[in-house]
Symmetry: C2
DNA sequence: TGATCTCCGATCTAATAGGTCGGACTAAAG
DNA sequence: CTTTAGTCCGACCTATTAGATCGGAGATCA
């Protein structure tokens, strides 16, 4: 349940890769093209292209056309949150269809609905969670890897 | 994004309704049948039936057959969490396809994947959030319902 | 100017969620 | 005991969306 789409998945990988290249110690400021990412992570080329297009349109990255072209991070990695990335691909966060009350878009259950308010509360919590984590954090700003000793292997859960 | 399925949605409504009837002041211990819930919330009858079947199979509710039959909450409302309900309908929580590492089920990106660990962390946080909220909480343990006076009727959005 | 590499829009296919149908069972009423 | 009405239950079909693909337009560098 609560699975994110493959496209969103690819978006996260691509962005982190770009961030790594751009702010890494090796070749800072280098542009990175679609093909490079696709081959590195075994992602269908054309599909990844569409994902990057969407990210570009939403202001996450900048596109540079022509030969030697490619993509560049639009702003610092610490200012790009997971929530922003996911919303660029999958649209606004919403646990139910009726989360965003547009006029005339009533779900049949609205009138007698007993779960709307609590669900919105949960939804908001999730959003804060996703919006508090940035690309910077994913790259290694915070120690995310949990080392487990061989003796406890396969024990947890 | 992160939308839960209609079926899960219906499950939440149904369970809360049952809990309300069973632990409410009016008719405690009464069994409630599928038709009653379907009509109350405008849910397709047959579909709701399937949802309740799944909930029964997963030990959330008990089914009583025959005339005057129906469903009954399996245990106290404070011991049923949102996470349990959702997992009964939609399967285990997992942001990506490769969250639960079954043998031989490797995603193409696994080897060079750079987002696995951080995503698992996020996923765990979400799970704790969902697992900390119970039916009891949804019913009114916390004041969730907003009362509106007749004069303001039809004004809000 | 020419060639090459990129972005970009529209199109097709596979998977899944949403919804529907008829049969099997149980318990109460006659 | 028999009948009968109302329930749960499993398998089936359809509509929507996500996943993946194709070919063309535009831009840059040699
Ligand atoms: S499900 Fe739409 S308002 Fe509750
Ligand atoms: S997406 Fe499968 S391991 Fe990262």
């Amino acid at each position: 349940m609560l699975k994110i789409s493959k496209k969103a998945d690819y978006a996260l990988m691509a962005l982190q890769h770009i961030a790594l290249v751009q702010f890494g110690d090796v070749t800072p400021g280098r542009v990175v093209n679609t093909k490079e990412i696709a081959e590195e992570y075994n992602i269908p080329l054309e599909l990844l292209a569409k994902v990057l297009q969407a990210l570009s349109k939403n202001g996450m990255i900048e596109s540079h056309n022509g030969p030697k072209g490619g993509y560049l991070l639009a702003r610092n990695a610490s200012h790009i949150t997971i929530a922003q990335i996911l919303e660029s691909i999958e649209g606004p966060l919403g646990l139910t269809d009726c989360s965003h009350e547009k006029d005339g878009d009533f779900c049949m259950q609205r009138e007698h609905c007993n779960i709307r308010t609590p669900l919105l509360k949960v939804q908001d919590s999730i959003y804060q969670l996703l919006n508090s984590m940035t690309l910077q954090d994913m790259m290694g700003g915070t120690p995310l890897i949990t080392i487990q000793s061989p003796s406890t292997q396969g024990v947890n859960r």
